[in-house]
């Protein structure tokens, strides 16, 4: 038993030098992958004299904030979708009445003792049949679990009259 302590020390060093066995897709081998549920709302904002906002959105605090910061007065809910994903597992959601919008998400998770954050690549594309597909939004987002994040797209000001904008309200929540 005299060699017990050095043996434990050497075993520890060996363990540290051993590279982790990751599965091919980046998931930790043996670890249950954390899942996340994204909630996506696609909203059309438009400049109008009179407020014709959908009833479901009228009392939404996020819409109130958007209204206070931007010139849009009418907000119409085009679609809502739930997307379930795992870490580093790209997912897509088809949105719109004509299924003309495609939303791609590629999330990674960043959790510590205090916060649970989601970092996701996002691509929002318009793909109306018979027309050339167009990327409308391409970015990386940092989301806090359960917090709603707002993105939007419109034509640049000064080129043409800007009277419409598409708004995405995205929230992600961990599922355990």
């Amino acid at each position: 038993m005299k060699n017990g302590l050095p043996a434990a020390f050497i075993a520890g060093l060996l363990l540290l030098s051993f590279k982790p066995a990751f599965a091919g897709d980046g998931q930790r081998a043996g670890a249950k992958p954390v899942e996340i549920l994204f909630t996506v709302q696609l909203i059309l904002g438009s400049v109008s004299d009179e407020d014709r906002t959908d009833e479901s959105l009228k009392n939404d605090p996020v819409i109130k904030e958007i209204r206070s910061l931007m010139k849009y007065r009418t907000f119409l809910l085009l679609d809502t979708s739930l997307v379930r994903s795992k870490e580093r597992e790209p997912v897509q959601a088809i949105l719109g009445k004509q299924r003309q919008y495609i939303l791609f998400l590629n999330p990674t998770f960043d959790t510590d003792d205090k916060d649970e954050n989601i970092r996701t690549e996002i691509r929002f594309s318009y793909n109306f049949p018979g027309q050339k597909g167009t990327d409308l939004i391409q970015s990386t987002l940092a989301l806090k679990s359960g917090e709603r994040t707002v993105l939007g797209v419109s034509k640049p000001q000064g080129i043409e009259p800007v009277d419409q904008g598409l708004i995405l309200i995205i929230s992600g929540k961990f599922i355990r």
């Binding site: 038993m1 005299k2 017990g4 302590l5 434990a8 020390f9 520890g12 060093l13 363990l15 540290l16 051993f18 990751f22 980046g26 930790r28 670890a31 059309l44 438009s46 996020v62 904030e65 958007i66 206070s68 931007m70 119409l76 085009l78 790209p90 897509q92 719109g96 009445k97 495609i102 791609f104 590629n106 990674t108 998770f109 960043d110 970092r119 594309s125 318009y126 793909n127 109306f128 050339k132 597909g133 167009t134 990327d135 409308l136 391409q138 970015s139 987002l141 994040t149 707002v150 993105l151 939007g152 419109s154 034509k155 640049p156 000001q157 080129i159 009277d163 419409q164 904008g165 598409l166």
Partner: protein
Amino acid sequence: MNCKKAERWIPLAAGNDLSAKKAAAVRGHLERCPDCRKDVAELEQALRAAKTLAGAERAGDWSEAEWRSLLRIVTAGGIKKKRVWAGLPLKPVLAGGLGLVFLAFGSFLLLKKSPAPPFTQASFKSPSLEQVQTKGLNDLPKITSKTIVSKETGFKIIWFYNKNFQGDGFGK
């Protein structure tokens, strides 16, 4: 001098194998410590008993020095007490504990997040995306963006400007 040291030196002192200074220290300790005096008395008694038995076995022709030497060997070479912790041997417990600490630290390093792979077109394997790409998404327009932050509430909107945006021709 404490009892532990005295315990080690008493047999040597009994065999006159200690320096004068150390022997004086042992004697000084014995004067102060009734427990050690009791131990010495027990040793002396054991020695006397051994001598008596030896006499009965007709082995009593040892000199006093030899008896003292025997006493010293017996007491100094007695069974070593193993140090214990919570009733368990200390060294194996320490070794096991240290091993567990290394295991925990190693596991922490293994489970620490690796950096996310870069986002590339190739990272999307979805066939439907490939279908979209064939329709011209490779000709990506330059998209600019700005973040609008409410001074009152801190609410943020990330707004993109895209010259190809046509609005939603359908709405409701």
